[in-house]
């Protein structure tokens, strides 16, 4: 049983150290598959370019190749960034033994508030700089507050996490839609959209945000007492409480962090689309995020958090989907193949950890 060998979070981390070799094999297994997929795509793109190079008007074949590679890289990183940002919060929540179904709804709320600010009367009263700052800060505060509400339900009202966040899942998207009566908000705001369309050093801004979130969360889990608390709560909540861990505060904080990260993801989606659509913003992302977490090696029973694993898991799922679609598998069938891949990956993870 998984519950019995995770007697406490501390012993879990110790055990992690003792079987470091296996842990490494697991991580490198995914890395190897990702590398194979990347190399395969290098060859595939080279193949298409060299076949169609006669039609390219400007530049040599090599330049065209690099342009295509760059494009493929950006497409994949852009699409994976929101899933990773949400997935990091999800990893922390799952590490405490909970789950957060409300992530998509929180994204929708945050994405709907930002245009309300810079399209509304505040936008005319203040300068663009102040407005854009507000348009980023206010949604993040609101989404953290929704996360706080999740944490309140879980710790104070003793709702089961899946039910507590289901409440927000159902109601939250409704709130986002009510804000504009369900209408789309279309806009053009280069300052705000730098969040997603900016290309410092040729790489999209949200990729920087993604890596910053991953690195900070990884430090949080491995180097701070907060991280140890998170793992110990997931390992054995009662033992953690008896050992003096402020269980309720830590659990609430984890949901707040998840809400905050969902706010960032929601803003990025809105900035990419130049429009906020409360119906589609973050729809079904909870499933993508949970799949990334599971493939990345964080068990859903809690007690372990592998932040880099979540990044790798999301990259793996995204690359598999990208490769399948780009070699001509229909999108619908790619869903089926992807499901099989996720099942296999989770099964292999499970075998190694037991």
């Amino acid at each position: 049983m998984t519950t019995s060998d995770q007697a406490s979070g501390i012993s879990t981390t110790m055990r992690d150290d003792t079987r470091g070799l296996l842990g490494k094999a697991r991580t490198y297994g995914i890395l190897a598959v990702i590398l194979i997929l990347v190399i395969f795509n290098f060859f595939r793109i080279w193949n298409t370019i060299s076949n169609t190079a006669t039609f390219v008007e400007s530049g040599t074949v090599q330049q065209e190749y690099i342009r295509s590679l760059n494009q493929a890289l950006n497409v994949n990183l852009t699409q994976v960034a929101t899933i990773v940002i949400v997935g990091v919060g999800m990893t922390l929540v799952i590490a405490t033994g909970g789950i957060d179904l409300s992530v998509g709804a929180i994204m929708a709320i945050a994405g709907q508030i930002a245009p309300l600010i810079f399209l509304g009367s505040i936008g005319q009263r203040f300068g663009m700089g102040v407005t854009n700052t507000l348009a980023i800060i206010v949604p993040l505060i609101v989404s953290s507050a929704v996360g706080l509400f999740n944490g309140f339900m879980v710790t104070q009202l003793r709702f089961q996490p899946i039910i507590a966040t289901l409440v927000v899942y159902i109601g939250g998207r409704g709130i986002a839609q009510v804000l504009t009566n369900g209408y789309l908000q279309v806009f053009r705001n280069p300052g705000f959209q730098y969040l997603a369309l900016g290309r410092p050093l040729g790489i999209p801004t949200q990729v920087y945000i993604m890596f910053a979130v991953v690195i900070l969360a990884d430090l949080l889990v491995r180097r701070t007492s907060f991280g140890q608390y998170v793992l110990s709560i997931g390992g054995n909540e009662r033992a953690a409480r008896l050992a003096g861990v402020p269980v309720n505060r830590v659990k609430t904080a984890v949901y707040v962090i998840s809400g905050f990260l969902c706010g960032i993801a929601g803003l990025i989606v809105v900035a990419i689309n130049s429009a906020s659509d409360a119906n589609l913003n973050g729809l079904n992302i909870e499933l993508d995020a949970i799949a990334a977490v599971a493939v990345g090696g964080t068990p859903l029973s809690g007690g372990i958090a592998t932040i880099w694993g979540t990044l790798l898991g999301a990259l793996f799922i995204q690359l598999a989907r990208f490769t399948l679609i780009s070699i001509g598998v229909p999108y619908e069938f790619a869903l089926v193949v992807n499901a099989a891949i996720i099942l296999t990956a989770v099964y292999l993870q499970r075998q190694r950890s037991s």
């Binding site: 998207r173 869903l335 499901a339 499970r350």
Partner: protein, 355 residues
């Protein structure tokens, strides 16, 4: 507490009996709420609400959720969860529409069999491979939806090329990826009336009666409860844990297949984008009925009452129209969330007080 009750006057004794046996069962409480809501709706909205047409439509619509929630109750009692039901329902509705041209029996049995097979697969991955129910059913959730999306393409393009002399016009794959029901086979008779009630309502009554008997009075039901209570203990006692868990998921899949049949026959066409979020609707109904997500406890009849209460309240929301202000679907979503919040809040405080 027990001592004071035993020494108390007969009047208090009856009250003690009432609170112990009647109201400790949350299903009864929810049933009372159900009656009150129904009466209130009838008084406020009059005959447009309690008209036979409205009630019948509501019952047929909610019969789909009732089937799914019945399977979900068993799954949740074992301590698991089944996210795949909505995708299974949509896939089986496509199959029902496709097989409707071969007659009534294939249009019912093929979807139910496919649903059972997907459920068996869930059960196999969960009980044999040891993958957590949330992930295992998430995988079939994705795969079944993908299969439903690709089905019109398979039937409309690939098979049409293979068998060019067969008429495939009833697969409308170009327009909207839907499959149209063959009306000449009278498939839609299964949502017709029988002895004054729609057939899905009869099916629900039969299914829930069987479900209640299965849970309370059979070995299978007792093992299901034992698994939810303590799986390791049940295994050590020599109970058939693996088989029972697999069968529970298979049952959930079969019932989702039945819901898919009704979905197809209600609308006349099967669309792969239908049935979004049904799994959460079913979980809500089970929770409102009072079954705990931790497993080990639960009641089939309470789930039916939960389904009816949720259906009734969402039906009432459509009637609200105060001075030109009616609830949009967006506000309805907010009210749904708030309603679930209140129910779970009352339920948890109720449990804590009775502990």
């Amino acid at each position: 507490m027990a001592v004071t009750q035993a020494n108390s006057t007969p009047k208090q004794g009856i009250r003690g009996f009432m609170s112990a046996n009647l109201f400790q069962n949350q299903g009864v409480l929810v049933f009372v709420v159900l009656i009150v809501v129904f009466l209130a709706g009838s008084i406020i909205f009059g005959s447009t609400f309690y008209s036979g047409y409205n009630i019948t439509t509501m019952l047929v619509f909610n019969s789909m959720f009732a089937f799914i929630s019945l399977g979900m109750t068993f799954v949740i009692i074992t301590g698991g969860i089944d996210l795949s039901v909505s995708s299974v329902a949509v896939l089986t509705s496509m199959l029902a529409a496709w097989f409707s041209r071969f007659g009534l029996l294939p249009a019912i049995f093929v979807p139910v069999i496919v649903g059972t097979l997907i459920g068996l697969f869930n059960g196999w991955t969960i009980s044999k491979l040891g993958i957590l129910p949330f992930i295992a059913t998430l995988v079939t959730f994705m795969a079944a939806r993908g299969l439903a999306l690709i089905m019109p393409k398979i039937f409309g393009i690939y098979l049409a090329n293979l068998f060019p002399n067969v008429s495939w016009s009833w697969v409308d794959y170009v327009a909207d990826y839907s499959i149209v029901i063959d009306r000449s086979q009278n498939f839609q008779a299964i949502i017709g009336n029988f002895l004054g009630l729609p057939i899905p309502v009869w099916l629900i009554l039969i299914a829930y009666t069987l479900g209640a008997v299965l849970l309370q009075y059979t070995r299978f039901g007792r093992v299901t409860l034992a698994i939810g209570g303590n799986e390791e203990a049940a295994r050590l006692m020599g109970l058939p844990v693996t088989v029972t868990k697999t069968l529970v998921y298979a049952m959930s899949g079969a019932l989702a297949g039945l819901a898919g049949v009704i979905l197809a026959s209600r609308s006349g066409t099967a669309l792969p984008t239908e049935a979004v979020g049904w799994e959460l609707q079913a979980i809500s109904a089970v929770v409102v009925g009072g079954t705990l997500l931790t497993g080990g406890k639960g009641s089939v009849v309470s789930t039916l009452i939960g389904v009816l209460l949720l259906g009734l309240i969402f039906n009432l929301l459509n009637f609200i129209n105060v001075g030109g202000f009616s609830l949009t679907v967006y506000w309805q979503a907010v009210v749904r969330g708030a309603f679930l919040f209140i129910v779970v809040l009352l339920q948890s405080s109720w449990l804590r007080r009775n502990r």
